[in-house]
């Protein structure tokens, strides 16, 4: 390459004798610029970490909520006089009393008004139908509920004939396109179709799960995907993802989207979707060489067993299969005056005695415990197991540990939560009347094994180290190492595993020495500019080719610095909200280090407290300048970390502590209220509100004054008619970011 011998330099008139100074200057510039880029890169990475941490914390919350639902189902028999049916309806699988033919006729009879200008589908579908759908959705139209129901009905019929694992082959010239998570991002799907062409006999596609949730166009995406599925059944394939799950949809936005878009038919659509989702195949194999699943595998994954599984029974990963008590050996570990009967009680009395024993603080403990307990075994555990006694009445083993913090969403499996099943060595301890009984858990039933196989495929993540451990970060599935991959691939003669499930900066990533590819197709997943999307094309030679893209709202490309700043700003806001939501705990922690009440503590102390309260594994010291102020003496003014965020509106009769608690559990409460609100009026009765809140807070171990709740409930009942508009109620517990307000005020 030489050193400065080009003609250009001559023209600039630089004296050659200055070469030493020139070199020093060059070094300085190079190092300085590289440091700048390195700092940008660091910010980008920790921004990424923040988003992922928050995402997985949300998944943990979901686990907590699901265990609460089970708790409610089993303990709360009177809710609006409807018993547990209300909750069962949405959480348990419901057998359709009507036959398929009757259903079909019903849908056909739905009248679509002439004023409706959207697509009118006719079955069997044709290319004109799919074209009409694509045009309509580009114009922001919504498909009428009738056609949605008919489409889902046809899709369900079609999927019933499909096996659990689909085997495909690339014929001589055809390439198959494989797409990853879309998460409701219609723009990304349309961009893929634009770049790669629509699905057809000449252009086969596989979509690898997670079509819904988070993005606002989940409905449109599945309408398009199912339509193409029916139109080209041999060239369009869909794998189930962990978000094709009605309980996940409650939290992550799909249920809400459906109810908002389809007021009259929403419930029917959701009910049908439950079935359709559970009928989606769980894996696809190309040329007997490439395995495609949404999440990953575990050391238990057995494709032969998998082909015989009844996949439609696993409606949700978060509803654990019932277990049989028939083989239980019941050993009383403490003698008590009531000892004698060894059988288990009916639900009501057990419920009552658990409530009573709760008051006496006798906990349900286990060696391996689940998300709301504090024990620290790393073996897989069960959250809210359900047991059947010989009388087939429903008993429950409840984890009612009261004052336990939520578990750490860490990658290393030190902490337990995981909706997987206990190993035979765990002992379950049940409060029975006044004593604690030890039960050896039963052998896993066939249903459990089937459940586990499917959950592993949909929830697992690859890791770098060998071995297979429960995926505590997400609360479901496993972490699988390169040895697990190697073993499975070898066993079946495969050469490649393609999966999705994890967002990647470049839209795709290889690991396990190139044997595992992660493909993710939702660009800007966390925030504008956060990541690209990608798809794979693979032909008969089985060499994958990657295609990347990024949807952009603005036509002007953002510079790297701008992209990092936008994403970072968003991540920091989310963090600030988390700090706000845990204010009292944090302040208590800070004050431990500040006995003299100076308002200041060292950076290290601040970081320690924040890490232990929020339980997020982030570089707090690096983030410190963005979150909290320094005093002149170099210490942290800890109260300043709450300054950026303030409550949206003041609610009378609500103490700051209560406001904080309600803010923290807003999402959970929204989900619960939506379930209680059967007719979707947006209103629930004060009594329902009070009871639900009490149950929820006692389940979480949150200490809330009953009187305060009563006062608040009454004050929210603005028109004093005994009912609360819960959307308004939840709105009251939003927060605003002060900088946003300022920007709005100054235009």
């Amino acid at each position: 390459m030489g050193c400065g011998t080009s003609v250009a330099i001559e023209n600039q008139g630089k004296p050659r004798g200055h070469s030493e100074t020139a070199m020093k200057a060059a070094i300085l510039i190079q190092r300085w610029y590289r440091r700048y880029i390195a700092r940008l890169e660091m910010r980008r990475r920790y921004t990424w970490n923040i988003f992922q941490s928050i995402e997985y914390a949300g998944e943990q919350d979901q686990l907590q909520l699901s265990s609460f639902f089970s708790f409610m189902l089993d303990n709360f028999t009177q809710l609006n006089g409807n018993g547990p049916d209300l909750i069962s309806h949405l959480l348990d699988s419901v057998v359709d009393p009507l036959t398929e033919e009757v259903r079909q006729t019903r849908y056909e009879q739905i009248v679509v008004p002439d004023s409706y200008t959207g697509p009118r589908l006719t079955f069997p579908l044709s290319v004109s139908d799919t074209n009409a759908l694509l045009s309509a959705f580009k114009e922001q139209q919504t498909l009428h509920g009738k056609y949605v129901l008919q489409l889902l009905h046809e899709t369900k019929k079609f999927l019933k004939q499909m096996p659990n694992v689909i085997y495909l082959s690339t014929s001589y010239a055809k390439e198959i396109t494989i797409c990853g998570d879309l998460h409701g991002s219609l723009d990304d799907l349309l961009l893929i179709f634009y770049k790669n062409g629509l699905p057809s006999d000449e252009n086969p596609y596989i979509f690898n799960g997670d079509f819904v949730d988070r993005g606002k166009k989940s409905m449109e995406i599945i309408i398009i995907l199912f339509a193409f599925l029916l139109l080209y059944p041999d060239h369009m394939h869909l794998n189930r993802g962990n978000h094709e799950d009605h309980i996940m949809n409650l939290r992550y936005g799909f249920t809400k989207e459906v109810m908002q878009k389809y007021k009259a038919h929403g419930r029917d659509i959701l009910q049908l979707l439950q079935d359709v989702f559970s009928l989606l195949p769980v894996a696809t194999v190309i040329d007997n060489k490439v395995l495609i699943v949404h999440g990953g595998i575990s050391d238990n994954t057995d494709l032969d067993f998998l082909s015989s599984v009844e996949r439609y029974r696993v409606k949700s990963a978060l509803r654990l299969p019932k277990r049989s008590l028939d083989h239980l050996e019941v050993v009383s570990s403490r003698s008590s005056s009531r000892q004698g009967r060894v059988g288990l009680e009916s639900p009501r009395s057990l419920g009552r005695s658990s409530r009573a024993s709760r008051k006496r603080k006798s906990h349900l403990t286990r060696q391996a415990s689940c998300s709301s307990s504090s024990s620290s075994s790393s073996s897989s555990s069960l959250c809210s197991p359900r047991l059947l006694s010989r009388n087939t009445s429903r008993n429950t083993l409840r984890n009612t540990a009261m004052n336990t913090p939520r578990n750490t969403p860490r990658k290393t499996p030190q902490h337990p939560p995981s909706p997987s099943l206990p190993s035979p060595t765990d002992m379950l301890q049940v409060p029975f009347l006044d004593s604690i009984m030890s039960l050896a858990p039963p052998e896993p039933s066939r249903e459990e094994m089937e459940w586990r196989q499917i959950v592993d495929l949909l929830w697992s993540d690859p890791k770098c180290q060998n071995g297979c451990s429960p995926n505590t970060f997400r609360g479901g599935g496993c972490y699988f190492g390169p040895d697990v991959t190697q073993r499975l691939l070898q066993k079946h003669g495969f050469c490649l595993l393609i999966r999705s499930h994890e967002c990647k900066q470049e839209g795709y990533e290889l690991c396990h020495d190139g044997q595992v590819i992660t493909i993710f197709s939702a660009s800007n997943y966390y925030e504008e500019g956060s990541n690209r999307g990608a798809y794979i094309k693979i032909g008969p030679e089985l060499v994958p080719r990657f295609f990347q893209y990024q949807v952009s709202r603005s036509t002007r490309k953002l510079t790297l610095h701008q992209r990092v700043s936008v994403a970072e700003g968003s991540a920091l806001k989310a963090l600030q909200e988390k700090l706000f939501a845990h204010r009292s705990e944090l302040m208590a922690g800070f004050q431990q280090y500040d006995k003299n009440n100076t308002g200041r503590i060292s950076t290290g102390e601040w970081a320690t407290v924040v890490e232990s309260v929020l339980k997020m594994d982030l570089p707090w010291r690096t983030l410190r300048p963005r979150l909290v102020r320094l005093a002149p003496d170099g210490n942290v003014e800890y109260e300043s970390c709450f300054e950026a965020v303030s409550p949206g509106q003041s609610v009378p009769q609500v103490t700051p502590n209560l406001a904080e608690t309600l803010y923290r559990y807003r999402t959970d409460l929204a989900i619960i209220f939506n379930i209680i609100d059967k007719d979707h009026s947006g209103q629930i009765s004060i009594e329902e509100f009070r009871q639900t809140w009490k149950l929820f807070s006692s389940h979480l171990g949150v200490d809330v004054d009953d009187q305060a709740i009563d006062d608040m409930a009454r004050s929210i009942d603005f028109n004093k008619d005994g009912s609360i508009d819960f959307n308004e109620f939840l709105e009251a517990f939003r927060v605003v970011h002060k900088l946003d307000v300022k920007e709005q005020q100054h235009g």
Partner: protein, 149 residues
């Protein structure tokens, strides 16, 4: 050598580089970090050289020794401006794009082609091919200052 607080900061930097979280920075971590910094296609030899500089596998202690000094401090605006001025004795405030490329890619800690492109994408020269280096220095140093607040 370093204060406790600084060590903690470096620990975070180390963790950010250690992508697979196994407590060591290996060649994959290094390659990923380079790639993210715009230096794609770093030669295997170069990475091996860096790894060879370390007495053993690069755990945090080794990282501190090797990189600690380089992570400290920021050069003041004045210093960087003077460095650019070495190449602009007439004090025009701009430099020709080709010249800048030559200057940075052919000597000292040579920039790669990708790094050079990255810089010009972020700080584009005008139509005549002039790079306003004063502006570049200002944006970078002042942008950074805001970060450190």
């Amino acid at each position: 050598m370093f204060e406790q607080a600084q060590i903690q900061e470096f620990k975070e930097a180390f963790t950010i580089m250690d992508q697979n979280r196994d407590g060591f920075i290996d060649k994959n971590d290094l390659r990923d970090t380079f790639a993210a910094l715009g230096r794609l296609n770093v030669k295997q030899e170069e990475i091996d050289e860096m790894l060879k500089e370390a007495p053993g596998p690069i755990n945090f202690t080794v990282f501190l020794t090797m990189f600690g000094e380089k992570l400290k401090g920021a050069d003041p605006e004045e210093t960087i401006l003077n460095a650019f001025k070495v190449f602009d004795p007439e004090g025009k405030g701009t430099l020709k794009k080709d010249f800048v490329t030559e200057m940075l890619t052919t000597q000292a800690d040579r920039f790669s082609r990708e790094e050079m492109e990255q810089m010009f994408t972020a700080f584009p020269p005008d139509v005549a091919g002039n790079l306003d280096y004063k502006n570049l220095v200002y944006i970078i140093t002042h942008g950074e200052e805001k970060d450190q607040e």
